[in-house]
Amino acid sequence: MSAQKDAWVSSLVFLLFSACSIPRSGSASLQQEPSPQHYFSGLEAGRASLAFFTPSVSPGAQPFLEQIESSAEALQDYGVSVVKVNCPKEDVSRYCDKENALRKAFLFRGNRLIREFPTDSLFDVNSIVANVLFALLFNEVKYVETLADLENIENVLKGKSNMVFAYVPATGTAEHRAVMEAAFVYGTIHQFVLTTEAALLKATSHDDPDVSSAWLLFCHCQRATEPAQPCRRTALAQPLTLLNIHRHLQLMGAPLVTEVAEDPEKISTVHLQLGLPLVFILSQKETYEADRRTAEFVAWQLLGKAGVALLSRDLVHLNVLHRSNVALKTPDEGMPIQYLVLEDTDEVITLVEDKNKVKQIQEDEQEEEEEDEDEKENNNQDIQDDQVVEAVSRVKKRELPMEQILVLTEENFHSSLSEAARTVVLFYASWEAVSLTVLRSYSEVAAHLKGTPGVLLSRVNCWDWPGLCSQENVTQFPSMRIYKEGQQSVTYGGMWGTEELSSFILLSQVSCPLKLATMDEAERYLRGEFPPELSSHHHTSLLGVFSTATSEAREAFEEAGNILSGQVRMGMYFEDDALALSQKYSVSPPALLLARSGGRGVEGIALSKHSVQDVVQMIRYELLDIFPEITVPNLPQYLQLGKPFLILFSAGDISQKESKEMLKLAKGRPQQAFVACWLNLKKTPVGHGILRTYFSTTPSLPVLLWVDLHAGGQVFKFPSEQSITEMNILSWLEKLQAGLEIPSSTLSEEDWKPPLPAYDFLQMMEPSVPELSPHPGDTLVQHPPKSPGGDTARGDTATREEPSQESRAEEVGSPGRDLRGTALRLAARDKQGKRHSEL
C-alpha cells in the first residue's frame, strides 16, 4: 500500500509538472491515424484512447479540433491517447458516417468502446479531460444525486477509508477536471464522490453556500468509529484546483499530530513542504497526556491550515522561556521559530488562520515577553547578585575563631589602648558584608600573629558602639588602625588580605623609618637580618643614608616614613660614616639604598627630591619591579602608572630565556612607555578569564600581549610563531605603534549599569494611592506656567505609566494567570472569557 502510494505521489508530481505546462503546444502528442482500420488494429488492450473521426476536409470542426489537440497532452499523462482518425472519403463505416464524424468523440479501452461524447460536451480541454477521466474512473468516482446515497457511501466507508466529496456546479468544468484528475491519483486511496446537485451542497456545508462554486470535503471516515456519528469533515478552503486538492489530500493524509523529539529547527513535515506553518505544542512529561489532547484538538481545528507537532521539552533542550508553550515554524526560509506563550487554543488557531493577525500577535507576544522578561527579572531581583554579600551570607552560620581578638567597647576602648604598646583596631559593622569579609581575614591574621609580642589585635563593632566610632572619626567600614601610645594612630590603606594585613601590622612594630646606629646594623638591615622583629618579613628594604649636613632631605625622608608607615620597610642612617656606606653602593648622600627581596643585591639611588610628597612618590616608584609578576594584589600599583601593559601570560614560571629577554627589554628601552610584566596562570588563575575574554579560548602558552588598558583598550597578540626575544618584540612593537597590527580584541567600553531593575514602587502605588499623582487641578491650572521643564517631565511620566498601571492591575486581579513552571493549560477555556472581559 505504501509503495503504491509513493508511486501515486511521484506520478502526481510528474502530473503536476505537466499540468502546469498545459498551455504548451500539444500537437506533438496528437496521433494521426490515416484510417479507422489502421486505428483499430493498433489499439492495445487495456489502454484507453480517445478518438475522433474526421473527414479529410472539414473547416467547421476547426475549434473542436484545436481543443482536442490541446487536450491530447493532458490526457497522455493519464495514459489516454488522443487520436485523430482520418476518414477516407470512401469510408462510411460507423465512425465515419456523417452522424458521428466530427460530432462525436469515442473513448475506447482497448477495443472496447466505453463512452461516446458529443463534441459539444467537449468544449474545451477541461471538459475533455474531465469527461474522459470521469468515464474512465467510473468505479473510483461515485456520482450521487441524493443525500441518502451520500450517507450510504459514508456509512459503508466508516472505519475503512476516507471519502472525498466534491460538488461541482456542472460537469466538464475546470473544477470537475481537477476533481477527476485528483481522483485519478487518489482514487484508490480515498473514495471519491461527486455530485452536481445543489441540494447536496446545501446539506453538507454550514453556511448558505454559493451553488455556482465548487466545494470539496474530506470526510475522515476511516477514523470514525461511531456508526451514528457522521464522519468529521474538512472542507477545502481554497478554489478547487488540482494543486489545491492535492495539497489538501496530502495534508489530510498526514498524521494528525506529529510527535517530535529533536530540535524543531531541523524538523520538516509535509506541511512545511507544502508552504504551511507548523505549530509545536511544547510538552513536558508531567503534562504529556493533557498536552497530547490539546495538540489533537488544535490539530483538528487547524487541519488543512497548519500542521501540529507535539514537542517534548524533556527530550529536547530548548533555550527558550520556560513559560513558552507554543512554537510556530513558518515555511519561509530563514525565519526563526517563534516561541510564544499563549493562553488558549483559540489563540493558536487565530495565530495560524489570520495571517495579518500573526504579526500583531507576535508584537503582542513580544510585549508580553518583555513583560515576562520583566517578570523574570523581577524574579531575579530578589536573588543576590553581589558576590561578596552572597558569599558572606552563605558562611554566616560558621563561627569565626576570634579568641585572639579583643572586643573593644565604649567602656574599655581607652583603657585597652594604653595596655599594649601597639593596639590594632578593626572598626567594622556586624551587618555589613565587606566588614565581615575583612573580619575573616583579620581572624586569620590573628591566628598568624599569635604570640607576637607587643601587638594587641582588637575590634570595635560600630553597630554596637556608634558613638565610639564617630568619636574616632571612623566614617567607613571596615577601617583598621594601629594605635601606638602617645602617637597618632595610623590608618591602614592597603589590600584587605591576610598577608597584607599581617605585613602591615608587623612592619608597624618598628618605627618608620628605623634609626640605625652602626654600620653593622645598617648592613644587617640591608640583608634583612635586622631588626629581629622583621626577620620573618621578606620585603624590599629601603635605607636612607644621610650625611648630617643634609638635614632637609632627612626630614623629608622621616616625614615620608610616617606616611609610608606599615607599607614599606624603611631605615635611616646618618652616622659619620654614612658617606662610606653610600659609596659602597656608588652613591653619595643623601641617597636611598634599596635591597630588593630575593637577594638581588643593593641598588643605590641618589635622593635629589626634598619635598615629602616627592620622596613618598619616589619611594613608591622605586619599589616597583622592572619586570614584575603581576598578581591580584600588586596590579593596582602598576595600574597607577597609567601605561599600557606588555604582559606575558605563562602557564607556570617563565623560562630563564624569556625572563632574560623580557628583562632586557624592560631595562633597555624607554621604561616609561609601558609596563613589562608577566602573569603566572598557576598563581593567578583568573588570568584564564582574561585570556578567554580576549580570545574566547585559552591560546597556546606562553602568550605575549600588548594591552592598552588606559587608552582605547586594544589588545594585540605577539605572533606565536616568533620566539620571544627582545629584538622580535621591539620590531613587533614598532609595527604595532605604526598601526600595522590588527588588535585581537578590544576591552569592553560598557558602563557599569544597574544589573537589574528595582521594584517600581512609584508605579505600584499609583493605582491605589491616587494622591501620589499630581492633583489634576493643580497640574492643569498651575503647572504649565512655572518651570515648564520639570513639570512636563512629570506629566510625561504620568501618562506613560498609565498603561502599565492597567497591566499591573490585571496582574493583581488574576493570580491564576501565573502558570509558570507547568505547560500552560490551553484547554482552560473559561479563561478566555475572563481575558476578554478584562480587555
Binding site: E390, V438, T475, K682, P755
Partner: protein, 675 residues
Amino acid sequence: LGLALYAGSLCTVSGATFLYHDYCIIGAGPAGLQAAYFLQQAGRDYIVFERSHAPGSFFALYPRHRKLISINKQYTGKSNSEFNLRHDWNSLLSHDRRLLFRHYSRDFFPNADTMVRYLEDFASLLKLRVQYNTAIIHVTLEKNEQAWNGHYFLLTDQDRKNYKCSSLLVAAGTWVPNVVNFPGSEYVEGYETVSINPEDFVGQTVLILGRGNSAFETAENILGVTNFIHMVSRSRVRLSWATHYVGDLRAINNGLLDTYQLKSLDGLLEGDLEDLAIVKDKKGKLHITLRFYLENRNISAGIDSITLPQDELDNFATRAPYDRVIRCLGWKFDFSIYNRSLRMMPGKGNIKKYPQIKPSYESRSTRGLFVLGTASHSVDFRKSAGGFIHGFRYTTRAVHRLLENRHHGVPWPSTVYPITQLTNSIIKRVNEASGLYQMFSVLADIILLRENATAFEYLEEYPIGVLAELEMQTGRKAHNGLFVIIMEYGRNFSGADKDVFYYNRAVGEAQHAWQSNFLHPVIYYYKRLPTEREMRLRHPDWPLPRPDAIHHIVEDFLTDWTAPNAHILPLRRFLENCLSTDLRNFFAESCFLFAFTHQKLPASCQQGYVRMQGLVGSRELWHHAVQAGLLQDYAHTDFSGDRPPDSHDESQEEFMRDHGIPVRPLQHLVNAKDE
C-alpha cells in the same frame, strides 16, 4: 568678637538698661535646656530665662498624679546608644552618658519628680546658663538694621529688668490651662488644683470634662472609690495605639474604657462643652443641663425653675446628679507676653493652642523668633512626636543647626562618602537613628549627590517641611540630585477608628514593601530639589511631593533592617537604578579581571581595588561565591599541559573538588550587560 560682644552687652536704649545676649531662651524646661546645651556646645552667647527657681517647673506640678507616660526602657538588648534613644523618651541629648534617664529611674513610666531632678542635673552638670526666678512678662521688637534679623528682641521680666537678644528661642511650653465658660462653670474644679487623694472621692459621683490623658489619669486614680465617673468631651476617644500618636490616650491610662465597655457604671459621652450648663441644687449636687434652657431664666430663681433635659427627655444620659465636676482640658501656649508687633498668632483649628510657626520652627511673622519644645507641636500635631521630649530634642537640634548656618556660617554638619558607601550609610542610619525614628515624617536624612555620583554628602535629621530651602538653610549644594530618607507608617493605618490588629497587617515581602503598615524607612529620590511650589502643592497626607523614584524598605518586626536579601538588596537595586550604576561589591580577583577586560570599572573596584584597598577575601568565601555562580573558579576549569604538584594549589583544588563546585560561566559578570 567675644570682647566686643561682652563690651556691648550692656547697652542703653531710651533710658532703660538692656542686658545683651545673642540668644535668649524663654523657659528652662526640657526644650529650653536642650537648646541651651547645643548653644553652649557651639560656644554661643545665650541665656535661659526661667520663671521658677528650678528647671522643669511644669513637671514640678504636672502630671498631677506624678506618673510620666513617656517610656524609660532600660534594656533593649543592644548597646548602640543611638538606637537605645529610640526607646528612651525622657533623656535629653548630650555627650554626657551620665545624663541618660535610665540612670535616674528604673520605672518604665517614671515619676515626674525624677524628671525635675533630671532636668536640674542636666542644667547643672552641663553648666548651662540659666537665669532662674526670671519671668519674662513682655517681649517686644526693636528695629535695627544691624541686627541679625533686622530687629532685636527686647524682653522685660517681672522686676522690669530688660534684656536684649538677636535671636529669641521660645521654649515656654503650653502651660495655661484651657478653660471653658458656661453657666455654672464656677462649680467646676480644675485639673491643676483638684485633689489627687482618692479618699476625697469616696462614694462620689464624678463628671470629668475632657478626654485626654490628664482626664483619664484623673479617672484612673479615683476609679476604685467613686460611685461612677462620666466623661464628656466633644470628640471621640483617640487611642494612641490606633493613631500611632503618643499624645492620644495611652493604654496605661485607659482603665475607664474597660469599665465603660463592661458596663460597670462608668461612661463616656460626646457633646459640645460650650452647650453645657451646670446647676447646683440645694443639697449641693450638680445637675447637667443645657445652656439654652437657661438663656431666658434668672438663675437666682433657684434650681426648681430651671428646666433640666430629663424633664423633656426622661432618659437623658447625664440626668443623674454629680458630686463633682472636674475639668481636664489640657493647656495652651501663653500668648499674652508678646507685643502685637511680634504677631504671635494662635494656629487654626485643632492647633489653636500653639503659636503659628513655619516648618523650620521659626515664627510665621517674626524673623529670628523660633518656637521650641511642646509649643512647636503645631508642625506635627497628632502625627509625630514633636510635642514631646523624645521628639523635640531632635527638632531643637535641627533648629540649632539652622541657626548655626544662618548666623555663624557653619553649614549643616555633613559627611562625605564615596558612592560605594551609599547603601551602607542608609542602612546604618535607618537601623540606629533615633531622630528619624521618633520624628518620623518630620525629620529626614538627606543625601546630596556629588557630580557623576561618585560621592555623596550625608546630612542628618533635616526638617523636611523646608526641604525646598535646603541649600539656603544648610549651606550645602544639591545640584546633582538627592535622596530623602524618612520613616513612615503605612497610609490609612493610623486613625482613631482604625482596626490596627487586622489579619495580615504586616507585610513580609520586599516587593510589597510599599504596603507596609508599621513604621518603616522610605527613601525618596529627586533629580533636583523640589521647589517651594511643589512642596506647597503636595498632597496634604504626604510629607513630600512626588519623587522621581521611591523605595520602601519593608517593615520589620524587629525594626532591624539589615537582612541582606530582604532589606539591603532591594535598596541597592533602587539606588543603582536611580544612579544608573552598579553598586555591587567585588572581590579583588573580580576587579583584577575587570581591569584587564573592561575600560571602565564598577565603583567598588574603582574606589577600592584600584586604590589598593581591594577585598581579597578568603578561599572559603571564594568557594561560596563560586557556588552561588557569582564568581568563576579559573583555578581548574581548563588546563592544557600537566600540573606539577604544588602544595598550595593542589590543596585548594582538592578542597574545591571535594565540595563539588559547579563551574558556571559568569555571563552577567564577565560579559556584563550585553543586552
